[in-house]
């Protein structure tokens, strides 16, 4: 993966496959403490403890179409090479939370990348799922809650290309406004 935002898209795909109806994505840029923190919390099926233990094994996957499962190991590795940490918390029937922290200025820290496109890709691809995206940049923050957007849209689908375009521009402008980094 070239960007952390691609990892986020990938982890969220796990959440949607686990039947999540609400997925919270939070990105925190804390320059004072030199930390970048990414958290993805879903209300999907969750995992049994023994599965959680195996989730970071690249040769374990719950899928049958192939024998490797690289999504979580890739993100874990990307975090650890920057002196960061990685954790999965999961409870069967309640959901899963994945947290990765990175050394913000570490030379090996991948760029966050294109968050607006990551968000609109998951929204357009999963119109039935709700997302809360919070991005904090030091003491400024931005929140996008698709439930609010859907409320406002009434019968217009959130996946409509014009709506998607609007959301993308909104995220892009807002991230600039709060001084979000790369």
């Amino acid at each position: 993966m070239q960007e952390l935002s691609m990892n986020i898209l990938d982890i969220v795909e796990n959440s949607t496959r686990a039947g999540a109806s609400l997925i919270k994505i939070s990105v925190t840029e804390d320059r004072r403490d030199d930390i970048l923190r990414i958290e993805i919390a879903d209300d999907g099926d969750g995992m049994e403890p023994d599965i959680v233990k195996r989730a970071l094994d690249p040769f374990y996957t719950s899928k049958t179409v192939r024998r490797v499962g690289l999504g979580l190991p890739l993100l874990s590795h990307a975090a650890q090479i920057t002196g960061g940490s990685f954790a999965i918390e999961s409870k069967k029937g309640e959901g899963t939370t994945v947290t990765a922290t990175f050394g913000y200025r570490h030379i090996d820290r991948q760029p966050l990348g294109d968050m607006p496109t990551t968000m609109t890709t998951m929204i357009a691809g999963n119109p039935g799922v709700d997302f809360i995206y919070t991005h904090r940049s030091d003491d400024k923050d931005y929140t996008l809650d698709t439930r609010e957007v859907k409320n406002e849209l009434e019968d217009v689908p959130i996946g409509h290309p014009k709506v998607i375009q609007f959301i993308k521009e909104n995220i892009r402008d807002s991230l600039k406004e709060i001084g979000a980094g790369r």
Partner: protein
């Protein structure tokens, strides 16, 4: 705190509602972008993004886009499946934004399968 501009969203809603177009239920084409770890690493997000842009620019309203996981052919990613009403689904391989634009214009809009990019045609028996 930066926020969503509700006023702008309202305008979009009104504009979309005003379109005398086909609405949900009258879908002619379904495009599935395969978004496994392999697909994303190979550029599936950019493929999906260019598809959304093409749809927006062309103004068509009978094409729906969805995502799915990996099919097991990770080395051929990014892959997309184009399903046109009453036709066999076509799976395209090694897509990128340019190829996506070509498939959108020539196949999805004009009906001509873009053979050089095709991985497989899904027939009744193969389903």
């Amino acid at each position: 705190m930066a926020k969503l501009k509700i006023e702008d969203l309202k305008k979009i809603k009104e504009r979309v509602q005003g379109e005398t177009s086909l609405r949900a239920g009258e879908r002619r084409v379904k495009v599935t972008v395969h978004m496994g770890t392999c697909g994303i690493a190979a550029g599936a997000r950019e493929v999906m993004d260019s598809l959304m842009n093409e749809i927006e620019e062309s103004g068509v309203t009978d094409v729906v886009v969805t995502t799915s996981g990996c099919m097991g052919l990770c080395s051929r990613e990014p892959e997309i499946t184009v399903e046109i009403l009453d036709q066999d689904p076509i799976i395209y391989e090694s897509m990128n934004p340019n190829k996506m634009r070509q498939v959108f214009k020539r196949h999805i809009l004009e009906g001509e399968v873009q053979t050089p990019f095709v991985l497989a045609k899904v027939t009744e028996q193969g389903k």
